[in-house]
């Protein structure tokens, strides 16, 4: 049952999309083409961060609420519940491809080569003292404090805030990945999951990690200006700024298109968007927009989204997702 609000003068006729800043360039590109190639108006897209987007998305059904939210991390059960409590039962999940998370700095500076463990040690709030089971507040101020081979530079990493999907993925994949290289911590996982999680995923707050807002563009600009700083953001942004920035090698692998697509690069995550099924058929053009997205012209190996830095899924995965989209099969967790 759809209870469309009649507060505004007329029903909205353009699709409204909110959500992740990482997906923003992809969805705007699709939207723009969609607006040009069809008679539907160009969807209006606001970059609010994955978390903010889901909050808006899950606020309710009706034209004052967005139809689609972009996400750079998969929706969590708690969010699904939140949606459900506001009457949004049917959500269609669309996975659109992959994005690597890169640690980049200005080309003015030297290329960094790190392991996931280095990354975790550099950015975790608490780190092991050396004795198993003991931790101390992160003492490392210079990269070279961690390992002498690393540059003797102040640790300064500009990264996304916790509301961002990039941050969630970064904590989950990179941080946790580096963390569990310590055996005793790995064992902690099974014994005390909560402690494990908070040890591995908590990022230091003493200034070495600078939360730089949802706007990855800003981070890029800041890196260009301060050569010693590193930034954490999606591969697509690195791709767009390859003239100014370089991505650090993680575990010896460079963050490049092929390496990420093949899974060699260790820090990559899936990108999604979520559609409010109740709005399909009410707000014109949603189905057509989905079709435009789930199309090899867009997300395919040579699709125009790859120009924007999207790393495509394999052909089978694509056709599976495309089928979900065509059927508008709701998400079930």
């Amino acid at each position: 049952a759809i209870a469309m609000s009649t507060s505004a003068a007329s029903a909205r006729d353009e699709i409204r999309i909110v959500g992740s800043s990482t997906v923003f360039p992809f969805s705007t590109t699709v939207a723009e083409r969609f607006g040009k190639e069809t008679d539907f108006p160009t969807p209006v897209i606001e970059s609010t961060g994955t978390g903010g987007g889901l909050k808006l998305f899950c606020a309710g059904i009706g034209e004052e609420h967005p139809d689609i939210t972009n996400a750079s991390a998969r929706i969590k059960q708690s969010q699904v519940d939140d949606c459900a409590s506001n009457g949004i039962k049917d959500i269609v999940e669309v996975k659109i491809g992959y994005d690597g998370i890169v640690i980049a700095n200005s080309r003015e500076s030297d290329l960094l080569e790190v392991t996931l463990q280095d990354v975790w040690l550099a950015l975790a709030k608490d780190v092991p003292t050396g004795t198993d089971g003991e931790t101390q507040p992160n003492p490392y101020m210079m990269w070279s404090d961690i390992r002498p081979e690393l540059p003797a530079k102040k640790i300064e990493v500009l990264g996304p805030p916790p509301t961002s999907g990039t941050r969630a993925a970064f904590a989950e994949i990179a941080m946790e990945g580096g963390c569990k290289t310590f055996d005793w911590i790995k064992d902690l996982k099974s014994s005390d999951g909560g402690a494990y999680k908070s040890l591995c995923r908590t990022i230091r707050e003493d200034g070495a990690y600078v939360e730089a807002g949802e706007n990855d563009n800003l981070i890029v600009q800041k890196l260009q200006a301060s050569p010693d700083a590193f930034g954490v953001f999606g591969f697509s942004f690195l791709d767009q700024n390859s003239d100014a920035l370089q991505g650090a090698l993680v575990g010896g692998v460079a963050p490049e298109f092929e390496q990420i697509a093949s899974g060699d690069y260790p820090v990559s995550r899936s990108l999604f968007f979520y559609v409010k099924k109740d709005h399909v058929g009410v707000i014109p053009g949603i189905e057509e927009y989905l079709a435009a997205f789930a199309n090899d012209d867009a997300w395919g190996d040579e699709g125009y989204l790859t120009d924007k830095g999207l790393i495509p899924m394999g052909a089978e995965e694509r056709s599976a997702v495309a089928k979900t989209v065509a059927d508008l099969a709701p998400l079930s967790m």
């Binding site: 609000s5 507060s7 505004a8 003068a9 007329s10 909205r12 353009e14 409204r16 923003f24 360039p25 705007t28 590109t29 939207a31 723009e32 083409r33 607006g35 040009k36 190639e37 108006p41 160009t42 209006v44 897209i45 606001e46 970059s47 004052e64 080309r107 706007n215 563009n217 800003l218 890029v220 600009q221 942004f237 767009q240 700024n241 390859s242 003239d243 370089q246 012209d297 040579e302 125009y304 790859t306 120009d307 924007k308």
Partner: protein
């Protein structure tokens, strides 16, 4: 006999030098401030001038029957046709990575452009035609000479391969530069070469329209009441203090007001010029009231006396004589206020006018951005080509501001009365 009052005789040279230095420092300050203005506007204009030209690439495109079905021209995949044409022009580019670079020489809109061209000129179907297509922003920048080719390849976005391709096109005369009308007729786009200011300009127009329609009558009425009718008492004094203070409230606070009241409380549409205009109206109101009161005060009392002396009531006196005479002054104040509102950005960010909006808004309820917000968005965009777009948009904004202020000055000159 020497002159006892001469500078030398009185030993005053030092004091006169001090005076000269003092004067010079004042002059220096003015020169500094104005110099900054000139430098800022000049450098922005210089950067922005680049946005007025766009590059095109000429390709011979095969529109044969196997590519375009003459009976169903629209069904053809123009994307593929364009790419084939590129492959044909540069058969030496084979590997997938390089192909992407090759395709990247043209704007993503090239296929659409081609389709439009074919639809407009059906005669070309069936043969091979030389057609000019829009270049991508990267190629455009290169053609404008803004790529530092002396840098190491890894340090620039435009690779040696692309430079080679571009140079070959240039040698064959297959590139050209022309005036960029798109900048004035397109809405926002992710592609710098396609991005234009029209939608934001119209958004600004609608916002200002709403702003004017609300704030002018209101401001004028308030000014008339305060100047002509209000007795000097606590209430009128309180209103006056209020107005003066509102004039200095930071604009972002008005944005918060709009967010909390118009959006969250009244549920008006997000990102709409209606809400934007209302917020701007509240901001402009004090300016208009203050200017209108000054205009009313400039109407000589003799006019009021004349009307009252004949037995006109106070309302008649005000609306028949005083207000019409003050109208040009009020309008001038309103235009100055509108000019300020036109440049205002911060409050609009608060009410969602920062979304990606490509379409030109058709009314005050449609989603829209405003010109300064567009500037803010572009300033943040990663592509280098947006830098000149941003600058050009700034110049357009400044032009409108200058025009509005000129209008105000002219209005003032024309109706300036010495009573």
């Amino acid at each position: 006999m020497t002159n006892p009052f001469s500078t030398e005789a009185a030993g005053l040279q030092g004091r006169h030098n001090a005076e000269t230095i003092f004067k010079l420092s004042g002059l220096t300050a003015i020169v500094c401030a104005i110099g900054f203005l000139v430098f800022m506007v000049g450098s922005i204009a210089w950067t922005g001038s680049g946005a007025l030209r766009e590059s095109h690439v000429q390709l011979s495109i095969d529109l044969g029957p196997e590519k375009v079905d003459p009976s169903n021209v629209e069904a053809a995949s123009y994307q593929t046709i364009v790419r084939d044409a590129l492959k044909e022009r540069f058969p030496e580019v084979t590997n997938r990575r390089d192909r992407r670079k090759l395709y990247g020489l043209l704007s993503p809109d090239a296929a659409l452009e081609l389709e439009q061209y074919v639809l407009d000129n059906p005669s070309v179907v069936g043969g091979v035609a030389d057609i000019w297509l829009l270049a991508s922003d990267d190629l455009d920048i290169y053609l404008k000479g803004d790529v530092k080719t002396e840098l190491d390849e890894s340090r620039r976005k435009f690779s040696d391969l692309e430079i080679g391709l571009a140079d070959s096109l240039v040698q064959e005369g297959q590139t050209r530069r022309q005036f960029n009308t798109r900048f004035f007729t397109n809405g926002d786009s992710r592609e710098p070469e396609l991005a234009g200011i029209l939608s934001s300009l119209i958004g600004s127009f609608f916002s200002l329209l709403v702003c004017f329609v609300i704030s002018f009558p209101m401001g004028v009425c308030a000014a008339i009441y305060l100047e002509e009718f209000a007795k000097k008492n606590r209430v009128s004094e309180f209103i006056e203090v209020n107005i003066n203070n509102l004039a200095a409230v930071p604009s972002i606070v008005f944005g918060l007001l709009g967010l909390a009241i118009f959006l969250n409380f009244f549920g008006l549409p997000r990102s709409s010029p209606l809400v934007g205009g209302m917020v701007l109206a509240l901001m402009t109101l004090p300016t208009i009231i203050i200017a209108s009161r000054a205009a009313l005060r400039a109407v000589p009392p003799s006019i009021r006396e004349a009307a009252l002396g004949i037995g006109a009531s106070k309302i008649q006196t005000t609306f028949h004589h005083v207000a019409p005479l003050a109208l040009p002054g009020m309008l001038t104040g309103a235009i100055v206020g509108m000019a300020r509102a036109l440049g205002e950005t911060a409050p609009l960010l608060m009410i969602g006018m920062v979304a990606f909006i490509a379409d030109v808004p058709k009314g005050i309820l449609d989603s829209a951005t405003a010109l300064p917000v567009q500037i803010f968005l572009w300033a943040d965009a990663p592509q280098r080509a947006f830098e000149e777009k941003t600058s050009a948009a700034i110049i357009v904004l400044l032009l409108f501001l200058v025009l509005m202020n000129l209008l105000a000055v002219l209005l003032r000159r024309k109706f300036e009365r010495r009573f």
